[in-house]
C-alpha cells in the first residue's frame, strides 16, 4: 500500500514569512497526526485529527500555527509568521483508528528558517 505522502521535502524561508506543509495519509486512515521534530530531539505531537475533527491540539502554538483537515483526508499545517525556533522536521502520521493499531509516518518536511 502507498505510504503517507508529504510535501515539500525541504523548505527554506526567512523569519516572519509564512509556510504551509501538506500531508496525504494512507487511504482509509481516520486518524492523522502532525509532529514537530527539532534536531537532537524526539518528535513532539502538535495536533491530532479524527476524520476532519480536532481531537488534541493542546501543544499547538495557536498564535502562529494552524492546521486543517478538510473532508477528513488531506491535511495542511501552516506557520505564520515563522520564527527561527520553528526550524525542524515536520512529520505527518496516520493510523486506521488509533495509534495502538500502528501509526505510519511520512518522511517529513525539513523546514529551515533563516
Amino acid at each position: 500500500e502507498a505510504g503517507v505522502a508529504q510535501s515539500p521535502r525541504y523548505k527554506i524561508i526567512e523569519k516572519r514569512q509564512s509556510v504551509a506543509f501538506w500531508c496525504n495519509p494512507i487511504s482509509g486512515h481516520a486518524t492523522l497526526y502532525w509532529y514537530q521534530q527539532i534536531l537532537g530531539q524526539g518528535p513532539k505531537l502538535l495536533i491530532q485529527f479524527q476524520n476532519n475533527g480536532v481531537v488534541d491540539d493542546s501543544q499547538l502554538p495557536k498564535d502562529r500555527f494552524s492546521a486543517e483537515r478538510l473532508k477528513g483526508v488531506d491535511s495542511t499545517l501552516k506557520i505564520q509568521p515563522a520564527k527561527l525556533e520553528d526550524s525542524a522536521v515536520y512529520l505527518c502520521a496516520s493510523s486506521w483508528d488509533r495509534v495502538v493499531t500502528e501509526a505510519f509516518f511520512g518522511q517529513g518536511t525539513r523546514l529551515t528558517v533563516v
Binding site: Y35, P43, Q48, D56, S58, A93, V100, F105, Q107
Partner: protein, 116 residues
Amino acid sequence: AQSVSQHNHHVILSEAASLELGCNYSYGGTVNLFWYVQYPGQHLQLLLKYFSGDPLVKGIKGFEAEFIKSKFSFNLRKPSVQWSDTAEYFCAVNAPSGGGADGLTFGKGTHLIIQP
C-alpha cells in the same frame, strides 16, 4: 503528562554484539509502549509495541523489549546486532484517554552505529 527518558544518546557496537537500549517513562496510570526505528534517509517505522499481557514482546528483525512496571522501564534488546541495524531508535508512550487523544510522547532517541 507523560515523559520518556532514553539513557544513551549514542551507542557504538561491533557486529554480533548484544544490544540493550534503555527507556524509562514517567506516568502514573496505564500506558501503551512503543519502539520506533528510523534508518538513514527513511521514515519512522514501528519495531514493536506493548499494550497488555506478556511483558516480553517480540518485534521485527529479531528485536524484543521487556516491560517492567515496577521500574517504569521498557528496554529494547537484540542478542546479536548487524551492520544494517545502524539507525536512530525512539522509545514512545501514550496514555489513552476517553476523549480519544492518543498521540505519542517520544524520547530523544538513541543513535546506534554498528561497526562491521
